[in-house]
Amino acid sequence: MENTKKTYYPLENVLIKHFTEHAVEWEQSDPPEVTSQRKGAMDYFKEKGFPNLKMEKWRGTDLDAVYQEELTVFDEETPFDKKVDEIFECEVHGFHTRMISVLNGSFYSKEEAKLTVSPNGVIIGSLARAQKEYPEIFEKYYGKLPNHIEDGFKAINTAMARDGAFVYIPDGVELSGDTLQLIDILNKPNLAVNTRNLIVLGKNAKLSFLHCDDSVNHHAGLINTVSEIYLGENAELELYKLQNINDETALVNQVFIDQAANSHVKISMLTLNGGLIRNEVSDALNGEGASCDIRGLYLVDKEQHIDNHVSVLHNAPHCDSNQLFKGVLDNKATGVFNGFTYVKKDAQQTNAFQRNSNILLSDDARIDAMPHLEIYADDVKCGHGASVGQLDEEALFYLMQRGIPFADARMLLMYAFADDILKEVSIDALRITIEDMVKRRLRGELSICDRCVLHCSNPEQPIIFDIDLSKI
């Protein structure tokens, strides 16, 4: 199977070369199962390479420019020399989180904090450490999702990812009170990083998890993240993905979820900024009575591109799923929404809904909305729909008749449009912060710079957090 792809992109060459040079070394420390997964995945990658526009699932998202770059593969740990809040300042105020971070693809913390175990059995830390210290948990779950190799990004991640975040919540434990916050950042130029996260919730376990993709400079880069999430029976997960990266970074983010009976997942994917973002969520409802509610909001402008692929697999009866994605696209921004709901033959009494609504603010903005249903059971309630439109003229006139100028009226309506997604954020302090960020984003005031202490573009710029009530 080797080298069946005729020519490679520069970035493919860089990745293959890195793998070839390090495979033997990695084999020393990896369990045989992982070594074999790496080899299989690399064979796939050598054969198929990165995805391209000709592939059904990648129509509309062109990463050619990224493939042409000779980015540096970085898979080393960054030595801990300063606290992450000196690199990156988190904006969520009045909101207590337990914060962990992945810097340039590897878990970043002081040596003793790389992997911590709480008295209740909760394990949080570096995936690379968990592989060594908790092989029984690691090997039970890592790479166990079916069809884990489906495209070049998944394959190259499986072949090359060496670290990321590991979260294990044992049976019956609720990580309540604090939300766990994972910050994923790049602060070096021109890196290609492969990060892997593994999150396991036991039976009746509960986790509220905030995953922030941020960048702290304006250098180009590629972040390729794969997260595997397993929920035991009756487990509950709230996952918030907050994406605010620079216009130069490409982010490919894949989340695979396996849900046992009566488990519940709620996801909010909030994309506030990013040059090129591809989110793929694949959620398998494998046990009776499981449910998921996956919502997304994307606000893109300039020449940004956002691609959300969501698939929900109803593999068991009596499961409910909901997908709601809303987006506002301005200037020459482009987007893809691809929602897929699959209902297996025996998955009776399924309720599955998906909806994608878009507002295009300019004639040059574009969205490809592709909702799909594939139903093999006969006792189901399913619905899907997509809409693309402009702002409601009547509502705009109503606001202007109250004296509100066009630009402000337009912003208020965009904010109102986003509300379906924002109101579902159940942690008050987080919701208020996100609402504030959305308001500032809509006013064109949110930049990735005012969130980081480096302030490369405007070093003395003060950080302002107050919500300006006069504006909204």
């Binding site: 109503y398 004296g403 100028p405």
Partner: protein
């Protein structure tokens, strides 16, 4: 003169709806416009408030002596023209409080005044809520979202009370109201009436005019005012219907 409309012609998509309308309103006056459906009453309201798509092909609208035809809808609003909508719009995710504060401060900014202090604003809101018997919780809800027909109309009058317009146009404010809500709305209007403002009440039925007593009643038919009179005209219309007025003008 507060409003002076001269030989107004208005078209929508090239079709002429208002065909030469004249109307003058002075401060301190309440004018009612009545008439059958489809005769151009709401079009007149849209033309005065500057709604897009309503093309003024001929004539003039003077407001306080100035032509407003080139003004944007927000400029007209900030100069004191208010429209109580026949079908108020729902705006999910934007609370009434923030909506009103945005509107009030837009007007203040237009008048080169500093934004209103939060305390002063809230006090004013409390005061005006009483005027139309608005539930305290209503202002925390999103604008018109899930409001009943009556609540939406009360909310329009509440907004009018907050914004204190010079010229208030009430477009079919009575439609969909039960008698109790109608009384509340009318009471709100009567309390807001002063020597410094004027009202244009558009209605299909006479019953609203039992509670808001007009100084002048105009009957509109096929894009023109075909008869004007005092409040007695409304009663006459209630009794005789519109047919007796149509005949000389139809076709």
């Amino acid at each position: 003169m507060l409003l002076n409309i001269k030989d107004l012609h208005v078209s929508i998509d090239g079709k002429e709806i208002i065909k030469g309308l004249n109307l003058s309103i002075n401060k301190g006056e309440i004018h009612a416009i009545m008439g059958p459906n489809g005769t151009g009453k709401s079009t007149l309201a849209a033309a005065i408030t500057g709604r897009e798509g309503y093309e003024i092909t001929k004539g003039e609208i003077l407001y306080n002596g100035k032509s407003i035809l080139d003004w944007t809808p927000d400029q007209r609003a900030n100069e004191g023209v208010f429209l109580s909508f026949q079908y108020p719009i729902e705006i999910p995710g934007v609370s009434m409080t923030n909506f009103m504060r945005t509107a009030m401060n837009a007007k203040r900014e237009y008048k080169n005044l500093p934004p209103m202090q939060a305390g002063e604003f809230l006090k004013k809101m409390e005061e005006k809520k009483k005027l139309v018997d608005i539930n305290a919780k209503m202002t925390n809800r999103s604008v018109n979202e899930g409001f009943s027909g009556g609540e939406k109309k009360k909310n329009e009058i509440f907004q009018m009370a907050m914004l204190e317009p010079e010229l208030a146009i009430l477009d079919e404010t009575d439609s969909g109201l039960d008698i109790d809500a109608l009384k509340v709305v009318a009471n709100g209007v009567n309390q807001l009436k002063s020597e410094d403002n004027g009202f244009l009440v558009i209605t299909h039925y006479q019953r609203l005019l039992d509670y808001i007593i007009p100084d002048f009643v105009h009957v509109m038919f096929e894009g023109r005012i075909v008869k004007s009179g005092g409040k007695g005209l409304a009663l006459e219309l209630e009794e005789k219907g519109y047919e007796w007025l149509k005949e000389p003008y139809a076709g």
